[in-house]
């Protein structure tokens, strides 16, 4: 029996990440893991449900668990919908996690008739069900970038979801995962530096060191000058409102 376990090697906080990061406080979401992850990368997590913070914070995390409809009704009751929409319209750095990604969409099969934030086009769909294919998806799945991204890299991420966005919206960079015969969205991002919007279907705060690295890159905000130019990838993000009206309709048919 090992009676004296080795002391842990902590994740080294990054001085460049030592800044305030606001987390949208909703009644149903469990925020301790998100706050702990932010602390571990060197940031100062602050919980808030103040619309002014949510509109103006340099860095904002939009977490979320539970159902699409319940989360939207909670954001509405707390008067936060327009603040979130406005900050995203100017691309202020925001990290949406799990349901926090899905809420960006126009609607979800989970809650028919409920409007989402609508900053990206498309409909969130239920994951394909088949023998041997568990829903909810609970566990580690491999994510693969389909674009050259600022924050997103390939690697294993922890998922806990029954729904997902079927396709990366036009004007966004992203990564996908494989579920049965489909390749839904693992994460999307747009912009860079202090205008870096990232939304992940997985939980970066629960995805080990790989996930902490992602959060750290988002908090620091990579200056675009470091980035190489890649063909077929927009270095200047299109305004989100423009996208919402012009993006091609997501058919819900999974690519693959």
């Amino acid at each position: 029996m090992v009676s004296n376990p080795e002391p842990e090697t902590p994740y080294t906080p990054d001085p460049g990440a030592a800044r305030d990061v606001y987390i949208v406080r909703t009644g149903s979401a469990n925020l301790a893991s998100v706050a702990a992850a932010l602390s571990r990368v060197g940031a100062r997590p602050i919980l808030t449900s103040d619309p002014a913070d949510i509109l103006l914070a340099d860095r904002l995390v939009l977490p979320g668990v539970g159902s699409f409809g319940a989360a939207m009704s909670e954001l509405t009751q707390r008067g936060l919908v327009s603040a979130i929409r406005e900050r995203l319209a100017v691309g202020r750095s925001t990290l949406g996690i799990c349901l926090g990604l899905q809420l960006l969409a126009r609607r979800s099969e989970e809650s028919p008739g409920i409007a989402g934030l609508g900053v990206i086009d498309g409909t969130v769909r239920r994951l394909e069900s088949a023998p041997g294919l568990r829903v909810p998806q609970m566990g580690w799945n491999l994510t693969t970038p389909t674009h050259s991204c600022r924050t997103l890299t390939g690697g294993f991420a922890y998922f806990a979801n029954s729904y997902a966005l079927p396709e990366i919206p036009r004007g966004w960079r992203g990564s996908t995962f494989t579920h049965g015969q489909s390749n839904p969205v693992a994460a999307i991002e747009q912009g860079d530096g202090d205008r870096l919007v990232v939304a992940t279907q997985f939980h970066p705060e629960l995805s080990g060191r790989w996930g902490l690295d992602l959060i750290r890159r988002w908090v620091i905000g990579r200056p675009s000058i470091e980035l190489p130019e890649h063909e077929g990838f927009d270095t200047v993000a299109e305004p989100i409102q423009h996208l919402a009206t012009n993006a091609a309709d997501s058919s819900g048919v999974a690519r693959c």
Partner: protein
Amino acid sequence: MLTTRVIPCLDVRDGRIVKGVRFQGLRDAGDPASRAAMYEQTGADEIVMLDVSATNEARATAARTVRAIRRVLSIPLTVGGGIASIEDAARLLDAGADKVSVNSAAVRDPSLITRLAERFGRQCAVLAIDAARTEARTAEAPTYTVLTRSGTRTEPLDALEWAVEGQSRGAGEILLTSFDRDGTGDGYDLDLLALIASAVEIPVIASGGARHAQHLADAVRAGADAVLAASIFHDGITTPDAIKRELADLGLRVRREEPSNDAAEEYVA
């Protein structure tokens, strides 16, 4: 495609890890937070902490332990043991648990599962089932009955029916422990796993009886989505990473340590 999760389990009493055989004869096996951090670094995919304290007073320490674990852990943490209400669950979730597992209290009042799922989301509500093989075996296939209160009480409840009901009431996952195999190292009860895993759509975590990687691989082949073990990790017999290397050699998909982009592409190929 999801990988098979390897989950070390911390049975915690009064802030210390303990481990027994068939839920009895508990002995000290270390500090929960240090252990959890060490298991993350050595390849664990998730941690389960079960509070096996005997009294409510002792349970108040569970939230402190959860908080200490959360500070050093960046993989999922499921906490169970004595959760009988939404308030109990909320306290542990606030302290840093990502999921809560309910057992005896859900048998007493199955609506607890539904209330947890509605309040915190289905992914948060784990139904823990302790199952024992029934003595009477009239048919060729074994049947199982549900035990509660740390295996001390036999319920007039069939394990298969309870698993199906738990799913329909909102459970997002089933943590299935074989009472007969717990702590024995004789391998998981594969009949039990196959029975439950084929009857539900939600993920099933195999628990009770693991000693070798082959046991874990057998459990996955029987239908488990994740494999939980305690003694083999606490006793230093092996590490999650060593187990996962063996599972990969046996043909299972596992999350390898810190994959880089290159490693990820290699994995896909």
